[in-house]
Amino acid sequence: MYGYAGNILRVDLSSGRVSHEPLTEELVHNYIGGRGFGAYYVYKEVPPGADPYGPHNILVFASGPFAGLFLPSGAKTSISAKSPATGLYGDSNVGGHLAGELKYAGIDALIVGGKAKAPSYLLIDDDRIEIRPADHLWGLGAIKTEEVLKEELGDEFQIATIGPAGENGVVFACINHDFGRQAGRCGMGAVMGSKNLKAIAVRGTRSVPVADIDGLKDVAGVMFRELMEDPSLKVWQDLGLAQVTTWANSIAALPTRNFRQNFYEAVDGLSGELMKETIVVGDKACFACPMATGKLCKASFRGKTVLVEGPEYETTALIGSNCALKSIEEVAFANYVCDELGLDTISAGNAVAFAMECFEKGIITKDDTGGIEARFGSLDAFCDLVQKIAAREGIGDLLAKGVAGAAEVWGEESRRIAIHVKGLEWSGYESRGAPSMMLAYMTCDIGAHHNRAWSVTHDIAVGRDIIKGKAAKVVEFQHVRPLFDCFGVCRLQWVELGLPLEHYAKLYPVVTGRDDSWEDLLVKSERIWNLTRAFAVREREDFGRADDWPPRRFYEESVPDGPVAGFRITAEDLDVLLDEYYEARGWDSNGRPKVDTLTRLGLEHVASELHKMGRIT
């Protein structure tokens, strides 16, 4: 099968059984790869009501047809499971070099189920697959674990690890890879930890068949050439994603002090330019990527100097301005602490900022924090709190359940300022002045994440105070952007450098030999979107419109200062956005896919199952 290794690898950690299944035509035709494969298997194999930490949850590592090929930049592995953060379908993707290595080892998707009796790691060395003891790794940091395994196995292995946070089931524990790349969102690291799986190490030596190698060379050649000639490339190489911070501040979208504000008066201390001048010591790129957005930085704090990859924008926003830290070096150090503990920096920044605001408001005191003076601006407090979260000590045990979990204990006023949707903390764009972006966060299938639809510039282009008519753009993005996660390719070259989508439409047939048009591919993406929604509807009898609602802060408080001071989005506005969105999707007014919609998308079996359960009409 062109573009694929042709093989699914299953590992049952309970029994130790390893098995192979051929990749089926039906799976490839309907779900493409990556997140599509993840959604398919999680829906099919994780039974309703299954404990996300239990042996019946599965963890799917899947690349896609573009991964590991010489094109820009087939580097993405999607990791999917039932999320402990949301109790719903979750996925997160990671760059680096894992996706290609899995395919070179002959694997399109790795499905890990069950639970090992003792700490273990999985070795995949072409056809040699072993579940090995990991007692010597348990308790180590995520980066340290990778370092130890590289020493033991060799540098050519590509390794994914968890840190103590994953071992201890923190709902925002991430999976680490390639020193400083993370599958950060949805607690995939906690699922891995719940299976007693500390790491996966992969080495492969096979090649991947391509339908039209000359065609691939032609299309990829044009793509690389256009990238190299783009004037933006040098800025990306120089500043990476850190360039975003000052822009986000200038248009009032930078999360500040637990999203109370969207404008940070001290942003100059967090800028990408300052980062480059003061702490960057090297560049780093994912597989076949000329952008090299990874920045290696040195940072010192408490007498310790560390090397860290990052911080990129999301980390700077959520740990920097959102916790009111003062310098990019402080953010870089905090980034290192989170990476080693195996914590998603987006959710960790949210959790700490939430605790800081609760502390400021007197909702919690030093009795609750274990003596920590949890003030905005304190790197000491940040480091102490995330250590407690990863170890699940004291207040950390509560914050390890995410802001939604902690707010259940801290009461009504805290719930108002717990910034999440569906249990997943909000990523780096405060959206009171960007209604379509607000809708994108509300309706993202994994919770409040920006990667499915990023539409802030659409709001700027058509009017930031306009509500009506914006749902269509969000739906459009929610189909296009996740396609890249199905292909196993990074989307930055398209969204940031403007490579035309036509190039990707041409790549698909030359790589796979399939004659799907771009419109056909978008339908597949819509199918996947509806399948993950169906997972939620099947999972919870009461799932619906209320789950798409943002935190009260966003529609009860006006923006207090900055370029859009006074901006406010109302509950009525949110209803308008959702009504239009559900209509555009063919869902009912409670946000559930209609039988006709699922049937149109080839999901008759899902429609039938949910209809029999009385969940949809």
Partner: protein
Amino acid sequence: MKVTLRFARALREIYEHLDEEIEVTLEEGSTARDALSAVNLPEGAWGILLTDDRICKIDEDVIHGQTITVLPPVSGG
């Protein structure tokens, strides 16, 4: 004085009225912001400005004959 604005491809996809290069006529003492206003770009529509292979600040004075490359704002990764 005349200043040339050169727009990156990703920006032209959002704002279809932009050509790859547009020459604008400005008064002496004008800034980069004035140049962008002359082509009806709203605040926040651009990301970084480059001139002579360096970053050009938005409130920086521009001179006759200068070329400014206008990069798009980021698109959220």
